[in-house]
Amino acid sequence: MKVTEKDVAYVADLANLELSAEERTGMVRDLNSILDYIGRLNELDTSNVEPMAQVSDRYGVDESKQGSARFAYASREDIVEGLRKSLPQEVALENAPDADGTFFRVPKVIER
C-alpha cells in the first residue's frame, strides 16, 4: 500500500476537494491500484533521457531557429485589447452564482 488514508486526506486538501468518508476509502483503493500499475515505469532507466513537456517545441517549428525565435509567430504586441476586446463587466458577471452587478460576491474571507 503506497497511499494511506492520511495521504488521501492531505492530497484532497491540496486539491480543494471535500471527500466523504466513503469516498476517501474508495480513493485509497483506486489510487493504490492505479499507482501499482504505474510502478512499471520503474523498469525503465531514464537517467539520460530529457523530459518532454510539450510536442510543439519540436514539431511544426523552424528548426534552424533557436529558443524563443522558433515561436516568434506566436508573440504579439503587449497592448490592452490586442487580440480581442475584454468582456464588458455585465457579460463577465452573467454566469456568476452570486454577483452584485459590479463584483463577484463570495463568503467572508477574513475572520475577526
Partner: protein, 477 residues
C-alpha cells in the same frame, strides 16, 4: 433527400441546385433526433434557433445563385466541451450545468463561417474523462448499433450522432483516444490531427499538452473537408502552429502503390480480441493488394504508454480544473459559510467520481516528494515513446494498428474498475503523447454485428498520408 444519411458534398450540392433547402435538412435532422435520441442520448442541448438562422443565410445564398461555402447547409454536432456563444456548454459536468459561454470556440466559428449549421451540443464523459460515456453527469450515451453497449468515449455523443444519422459530421476532442475509440465502437471515421494543427481556443481544457480537436464523419472525404475547414494558425491559441494548410481533399486521390505500412507487434499482442485481429489483418492484406508493402516495425515502449498517459494527463487536469471554484461561472454549493468551505463543497458536489479520482491522482503525482518519481519520470518516458515513432517512421510511411483491443463493451461492464477502463485506450494514447496524427476507420464487424475499427498513424503534420491511405482502403473495401 428522403433520409438524413448523406455526405457533405451531397448536402451542399442539393441545396446549391435547389433540389432541397438547408432549412429542410435541418428540420429533417431535428425530426430524426426527436424520434431516436430519446433512447440513444447523443445530444445534451439543441440550438435550433442558431441552426435555422444559418439555414436561412445559406438558403438565401442558394436562391441568389451564389456559390455556397464548402460546408454550406451541412448539419453538424459539436461535442459539449467546445464553447458556443449563447448556447449552454457543460463539458458533461454538473459543475458547468448552467454555463453559457460569452464567446465561440475557434473550430466552431470556422465551421459556421464555412456554412455549417450547428444542430446542438453532444453528450460526453465529464470533462472528456472516460472511455465509455458513462461518466456524463447527465446520462450515458448508448451505442446506436446495440443499445446495450457503450458508444465509447469520451466523444461518445458525437460518434453516436453521426452513426445514427442525427448529424452529417461532428466535432470531437481527443486527449487519449476520445475521438478514435468511439469512432471505432460506433462504426464511423474519427480523425485526430497533429498536435497544433487545429486551434483549441474555446475548448474546455482537460490536459493541455495532449488535447486535440478533430472530426467524426461517415466518410474519409468528409473528414478531409472538415479538417481543411478547422486547421490552421489561430492567434488566440499560441500552440496552434504557423504552417500552411494543404488541400486535404486533393491529397485523397494520390496513389498508394509503393507505400510502406509499419506493423508493430506491440499492438497485436496479449489482450487483442481475435475477431479484431483478423479484421485488421484482412485490411492490411487489402492494402497489400493495392500495392503497399507491410514492414515490421518495433515500438518497444508501448507497454509504458498507459501509465505515462495517466500521470501526465491527470497532472495537467489537476491544474486545469483548479479554476472551478464556484466564483465566476461554475456551480456553487448552497449554504456555505467560508471561502474555503465554498471551494471544497462546490467542487465536491459539482465533480463526478472519475473527475475527482483524476484530480487526486494528478495532485498526488505533482505533490512534494513525488514529483520526480511520477510526473518527471512520465515526461521522460514520453520522450522514449516519441523516439519510438521517430525511429519507426524512418522506415515506413504510416503505421497500421487496431484502434481498440475489442469491439464495444456493455454498459456497466468496466464502470467499477477504473484501471480496466483505462486499458480501453491502450492503442490510442501513444499518438496523443507523441503528438502525431491518427485516424480510426471501420474495417468490418464482429459475429455479433459490432463495428471494428483500425487505426492509421502518421508522421507529424502528415495528415495527407493518413487520409490517402484511409481513403484508398475505404474505396477498396
Amino acid at each position: 433527400m428522403q433520409t438524413t444519411h448523406f455526405s457533405i458534398d451531397a448536402a451542399r450540392s442539393a441545396i446549391q441546385e435547389r433540389s432541397t433547402t438547408a432549412l429542410a435538412l435541418a428540420e429533417k435532422h431535428y425530426a430524426r433526433i426527436q424520434k431516436d435520441d430519446g433512447q440513444i442520448g447523443a445530444y445534451l442541448t439543441l440550438c435550433k434557433e442558431r441552426a435555422l438562422e444559418q439555414a436561412d443565410r445559406i438558403d438565401r445564398m442558394a436562391a441568389e445563385g451564389k456559390p455556397l461555402p464548402p460546408l454550406g447547409g451541412v448539419p453538424v454536432a459539436i461535442k459539449d466541451v467546445m464553447s458556443t456563444r449563447g448556447v449552454r456548454t457543460t463539458a458533461g459536468s454538473k459543475i458547468l450545468g448552467h454555463y453559457i459561454p460569452p464567446y465561440d470556440c475557434t473550430a466552431v466559428a470556422r465551421m459556421e463561417a464555412a456554412g455549417a449549421m450547428v444542430l446542438g451540443k453532444t453528450n460526453c464523459d465529464e470533462f472528456a474523462m472516460g472511455s465509455s460515456n458513462e461518466n456524463s453527469a447527465f446520462r450515458p450515451v448508448r451505442n446506436p448499433r446495440d443499445l446495450s453497449r457503450v458508444p465509447g468515449g469520451s466523444s461518445g455523443g458525437s460518434a453516436a450522432a453521426v452513426a445514427a444519422d442525427m448529424a452529417v459530421v461532428a466535432l470531437g476532442s481527443d486527449t487519449g483516444g476520445s475521438i478514435r475509440q468511439p469512432a471505432s465502437f460506433c462504426g464511423v471515421v474519427g480523425f485526430m490531427p497533429t498536435y497544433g494543427r487545429v486551434s483549441r481556443y474555446g475548448l474546455i481544457a482537460f490536459a493541455s499538452s495532449l488535447d486535440h480537436i478533430g472530426p467524426l464523419t461517415r466518410t474519409v472525404k468528409d473528414a478531409a473537408l472538415v479538417l481543411r475547414t478547422i486547421a490552421g494558425r489561430d492567434p488566440m491559441d499560441s500552440t496552434s502552429v504557423d504552417l500552411p494548410v494543404p488541400d486535404y481533399v486533393a491529397e485523397l486521390e494520390k496513389p498508394v502503390r509503393g507505400l510502406r505500412l509499419g506493423i508493430a507487434k506491440e499492438y497485436f499482442g496479449e489482450g487483442l480480441d481475435d475477431e479484431v485481429r483478423h479484421a485488421v489483418e484482412s485490411a492490411i492484406d487489402k492494402w497489400k493488394h493495392l500495392g503497399c508493402e507491410a514492414v515490421p516495425v518495433s515500438l518497444p515502449h508501448t507497454p509504458y504508454a498507459i501509465p505515462t498517459y495517466y500521470l501526465i494527463a491527470t497532472a495537467e487536469a489537476s491544474a486545469n480544473l483548479a479554476r472551478y471554484d464556484g466564483v465566476r461561472y461554475s456551480y456553487r454549493a448552497p449554504g456555505v459559510k467560508t471561502l474555503s468551505d465554498m471551494y471544497r463543497r462546490s467542487r465536491d458536489q459539482g465533480f463526478g467520481a472519475e473527475v475527482k479520482r483524476r484530480i487526486m491522482l494528478g495532485t498526488y503525482a505533482l505533490s512534494a516528494g513525488y514529483y520526480d518519481a511520477y510526473y518527471l519520470k512520465a515526461q521522460k518516458v514520453r520522450t522514449l515513446l516519441t523516439r519510438d515513432f521517430e525511429q519507426a517512421f524512418r522506415k515506413v510511411d504510416a503505421i497500421i494498428t487496431p484502434t481498440c483491443p475489442t469491439a464495444a463493451f456493455r454498459l456497466g461492464e468496466k464502470s467499477n474498475d477504473p484501471l480496466a477502463m483505462y486499458l480501453a485506450d491502450i492503442y490510442t494514447v501513444t499518438a496523443d503523447l507523441a503528438g502525431i496524427p491518427g485516424i480510426s476507420i471501420p474495417c468490418g464487424e464482429t459475429k455479433e454485428k459490432l463495428p471494428i475499427g483500425l487505426q492509421i498513424l502518421g508522421k507529424h503534420f502528415d495528415e495527407p498520408m493518413v487520409l490517402r491511405l484511409a481513403h484508398a482502403y475505404e474505396q477498396a473495401a
